[in-house]
C-alpha cells in the first residue's frame, strides 16, 4: 500500500513540475494569421524540412546537417529580402529506414513545407524517395551517396554530394598510380560497402591486386584488422566508412607500425577524424568531391558563422547541407518570382538549379544527381593535424 501511495505522490510531483515548466512557456508575440496558408500572399510562411537522424547512434551526422540548414534559414530570414518567412521543420528518422516513413509523413502533413533537405542516408532515402516523389515534394540529399539512388526513379530527388561512383573511382585511379597491392576495408554500412565496391572495381580494372575485408562500424578494437593489413604487405589501405571509425583505424594502423599509404573518402574527412586520430592521422589522404571549406572564401564565411552560432566548427556534411538548404531557398524565391509557390513549382525550380555553393558548383542532371563534370574530386591530406587540399585528384602526383 505504501508503495502505491508513493507512486501517486511521485506522479503528482512530476505533474506539478511539468505544470511549472509549462507556465513559463514562451509567448512569442504575433497573433494567429487568418486565411489560407497556401497561395503565397505577402508575409506567408514557407517551410523547408530536414529529415535525418537527430537521435540515436547516428545523431551526430544529422546534427551537423540540421545545424547548417538552420544557419542557412536564419541567414535568409535575416537578409529581409525574401518577402516571406522561412521556417525549418526538423523530422527525426533516427537514420533508420523503418522510421523514415513516419518522419516523411510528419513533413508531408505540413502543407507549408516546400522542400526537404535529406534524408541523410541512402537507406532512408530509398525508404521514402517514392513517397516524396508521389507528393511532388522536392528532396535534396546532402549526404546520401549510394551510387544507384539516381536510377531508382524518384521523381523529385536531387543530390548535392558526389556519389560513390564519382568519388571512389577517382580515389582508386590515384591509388593505382601509387600502389600495386591495396587493402580495402569497409565499415559494413550502406555507405561504406558502396564506396568499397566502387573503389575495388576501379582498382581491379587498373590491374591492382585488391584484398577486401570489413569491420563493423560499432567496433572500437581495430587491432586485428590493422595487423591483417600489415601482414598482407599491401602498399596502401583504403578505408570506406566514416570519420570516427577512420580515426580509430588509423591509430591502430600506426600502433602496429603500418607504413603504407592510408586513404579514405569524404565520410572520413572531418574534424572528428583529425581530433580523434591526432598525430596518427598525419599523412592520411582523402578523396572528396568537395571544395575545401576552410579555404574557399565563401566557405570561410560559412565556417565562421557556423562556429559562432553553434560554438563548434562545421563537421562532416555540414557544408553540403548548407548548400542544399540554400538551393531550396533559392528555388522558393524563384517560384515566388515566377508567380506561385507550390510544391510542384518549387520542385521545377530546384531542377533548374545552377548554383555556386561552398562545396562547388551545383547543377542537377535529369536524374537528379549532380550533372557530370560539375564536381571535381579533390585530394586532401592531413598535415600537422590539419586537413589541407592538394588540388584536383586527377592531376595530383
Amino acid at each position: 500500500m505504501r508503495t502505491r501511495n508513493l507512486v501517486s505522490v511521485a506522479v503528482l510531483g512530476l505533474a506539478a513540475t511539468t505544470a511549472l515548466g509549462a507556465c513559463s512557456n514562451s509567448n512569442d508575440s504575433g497573433g494567429l494569421s487568418g486565411g489560407s496558408s497556401s497561395g503565397g500572399g505577402g508575409g506567408a510562411t514557407y517551410t523547408v524540412a530536414f529529415e535525418g537522424p537527430l537521435s540515436g547512434d547516428n545523431a551526430q551526422l544529422g546534427i551537423n546537417e540540421v545545424n547548417a540548414a538552420q544557419l542557412a534559414v536564419d541567414q535568409a530570414n535575416q537578409k529581409g529580402d525574401l518577402g516571406f518567412t522561412l521556417k525549418l521543420l526538423k523530422a527525426d528518422d533516427v537514420g533508420d529506414p523503418s522510421k523514415a516513413p513516419a518522419a516523411a509523413a510528419q513533413i508531408l502533413q505540413d502543407n507549408t513545407v516546400m522542400g526537404v533537405i535529406g534524408p541523410s542516408f541512402s537507406g532512408t532515402t530509398k525508404a521514402v524517395g517514392k513517397t516524396f516523389g508521389d507528393a511532388g515534394l522536392a528532396i535534396v540529399n546532402p549526404s546520401a551517396s549510394n551510387g544507384t539512388l539516381q536510377t531508382l526513379g524518384f521523381k523529385t530527388w536531387h543530390r548535392v554530394n558526389p556519389n560513390d561512383f564519382a568519388e571512389g573511382p577517382a580515389a582508386a585511379d590515384w591509388l593505382a598510380k601509387k600502389a600495386k597491392k591495396v587493402f580495402v576495408v569497409d565499415d559494413l554500412s550502406d555507405y561504406g560497402s558502396g564506396v568499397a565496391a566502387a573503389v575495388i572495381k576501379e582498382l581491379k580494372a587498373k590491374g591492382v591486386t585488391v584484398q577486401h575485408q570489413g569491420v563493423d562500424a560499432k567496433t572500437t578494437d581495430y587491432g586485428a584488422i590493422s595487423q591483417t593489413v600489415k601482414n598482407s604487405g599491401a602498399d596502401a589501405v583504403f578505408y570506406a566508412g566514416y570519420d570516427a571509425q577512420g580515426a580509430l583505424f588509423t591509430k591502430a594502423l600506426t600502433a602496429v607500425g603500418y607504413k603504407g599509404i592510408r586513404m579514405a573518402g569524404n565520410g572520413v574527412k572531418s574534424s572528428v577524424f583529425t581530433e580523434g586520430a591526432g598525430a596518427a592521422g598525419n599523412g592520411f589522404y582523402f578523396s572528396c568531391g568537395c571544395q575545401d571549406a576552410t579555404v574557399a572564401p565563401s566557405a570561410k564565411d560559412f565556417t565562421a558563422a557556423y562556429q559562432k552560432m553553434f560554438n563548434t566548427p562545421p563537421s562532416t556534411y555540414s557544408p553540403e547541407a548548407y548548400d542544399a538548404t540554400n538551393i531550396l531557398i533559392n528555388a522558393i524565391k524563384a517560384a515566388k518570382a515566377a508567380g506561385s509557390v507550390t510544391r510542384a513549382t518549387v520542385n521545377e525550380q530546384v531542377n533548374k538549379t545552377d548554383y555556386e555553393g561552398i562545396t562547388g558548383h551545383i547543377k542537377f542532371g535529369t536524374d537528379g544527381d549532380l550533372a557530370k563534370g560539375s564536381g571535381t574530386v579533390n585530394l586532401y591530406e592531413q598535415k600537422d593535424g590539419k586537413i589541407v587540399s592538394l588540388g584536383d585528384i586527377t592531376k595530383a602526383s
Binding site: 508503495t3 570516427a244 580509430l248 591509430k251 600502433a255
Partner: protein, 316 residues
C-alpha cells in the same frame, strides 16, 4: 608464428576486458540467478567516472614520466572501480531490490535491468555528450612496444590491460575463496535459504556482490577507455560479448568467466584471421562476431552448462 603471437596478444587484450566485465555478470548470476543486463552501463560509467577524475586530478598533460603514468593508472583504475561500484550498488537498490521484495518473475528483473540500461546510457549522453568517441589524453606512449615475445611486440597498453586484468582477477579469486565475505557470497550462491539460516545477511551479501562486480566492470571501463575510446553507448557490444563469455565459461562460475572471456577474445582474433594459414585470410574480419556466436552455440550445445559448469567459486 610471429603473426600467430601478434593475434594471440590482441586476443588476450580483448579477452581480458571481456573477462573483467564477464565477472560482473557471473557474480550477480551466482547470487541471484539473474542476468544483470545493466552491467554494460556500469562498465560505461566506469569509463566516464574515471575520465572525470583523471582529467580533473591530472589535467590534460601529455607524455608524463613513468612514475606519474603509474599514478594515473592507479587513479584511473581506482576511480573507475569506485564509480562502477557505486552505480552497481545503486542499480541493485533501485532496479533489483524492490522487485525482489515483491517476488517479481525472473523476466521482470531482466526488463527492469534493460530499462535501467537505457536510462543510464542516455543519461550519461545527456549529461556529458553523445559523441561516439571520447578519448583520454595521451598520458604516455600507449602504443609503444613494451616487450617482445618471439618476434611479436606487446605494446604498453596491451601489457597494462592484461596485467591489470590478471591482478584484479587473482584478487577476486582470493576474495571469493579466502575471505569471510567471499564465503558468504558462495553461501548465498549455493543455497540462499540455508545461508540465511546460518546467519548470513542475504541483502547485504547481494549488495556487496554487486559492488564487487561493479568495481571490476568500472575498472574495465577505464582500461577500455584508455586503450580505445569511450562513449555513452560503449557498453552495449562489450556487454553482450562479456555476457556471452560468462555463459561460455559457465555462468555463475568465476573461473569460468575468466576462461570464457579470454577464450572468446582469442577466438575472435584468431579464427577470422587464421594466422596459421600463411597470411591468407580465411574468412575475413567481418565474420568476427559470427565466429564468436557460433563458437558459443557449439560449446553450449556440447556442454549445456558451459565449459566449467555453473557453480560460483567452484573451480571445476
Amino acid at each position: 608464428m610471429t603473426d600467430f603471437l601478434n593475434y594471440l596478444i590482441l586476443g588476450l587484450t580483448r579477452g581480458s576486458m571481456y573477462a573483467l566485465i564477464a565477472l560482473g555478470y557471473t557474480l550477480v548470476y551466482g547470487v541471484l540467478q539473474l542476468i544483470n543486463f545493466a552491467h554494460s552501463e556500469v562498465f560505461m560509467s566506469g569509463a566516464f567516472g574515471s575520465y572525470l577524475v583523471v582529467s580533473g586530478v591530472v589535467g590534460s598533460h601529455h607524455n608524463l614520466p613513468w612514475y606519474a603514468t603509474v599514478g594515473v593508472l592507479l587513479i584511473g583504475l581506482g576511480s573507475g572501480a569506485a564509480v562502477g561500484a557505486f552505480v552497481a550498488w545503486a542499480l541493485e537498490r533501485v532496479a533489483y531490490r524492490p522487485l525482489r521484495e515483491r517476488g517479481a518473475p525472473k523476466l521482470a528483473f531482466l526488463i527492469s535491468a534493460i530499462g535501467a540500461s537505457f536510462f543510464l546510457s542516455q543519461l550519461a549522453g545527456k549529461l556529458f555528450n553523445r559523441l561516439s568517441q571520447n578519448q583520454f589524453p595521451t598520458y604516455f606512449n600507449a602504443n609503444g612496444a613494451a616487450l617482445h615475445i618471439g618476434g611479436a611486440s606487446v605494446s604498453w597498453i596491451q601489457l597494462i590491460v592484461i596485467v591489470s586484468a590478471l591482478v584484479l582477477m587473482i584478487g577476486l579469486d582470493r576474495l571469493v575463496n579466502g575471505t569471510k565475505l567471499g564465503s558468504s557470497i558462495r553461501g548465498v550462491a549455493e543455497d540462499a535459504p540455508t545461508a540465511a539460516l546460518m546467519g548470513i545477511d542475504i541483502d547485504k551479501t547481494i549488495s556487496r556482490t554487486f559492488i564487487i562486480g561493479g568495481a571490476l566492470g568500472g575498472a574495465a571501463g577505464f582500461l577500455f577507455g584508455t586503450a580505445f575510446v569511450f562513449s555513452n553507448t560503449m557498453g552495449f557490444i562489450p556487454g553482450v560479448k562479456a555476457f556471452a563469455a560468462a555463459v561460455l565459461g559457465g555462468i555463475g562460475n568465476i573461473r569460468g568467466a575468466m576462461i570464457g572471456g579470454l577464450l572468446l577474445g582469442v577466438v575472435e582474433n584468431l579464427v577470422p584471421t587464421a594466422p596459421w594459414n600463411g597470411g591468407q585470410a580465411w574468412i575475413g574480419i567481418q565474420w568476427t562476431d559470427v565466429v564468436a556466436f557460433v563458437v558459443l552455440i557449439l560449446v553450449l550445445v556440447l556442454r549445456p552448462t558451459g565449459i566449467l559448469g555453473e557453480k560460483l567459486g567452484r573451480a571445476a
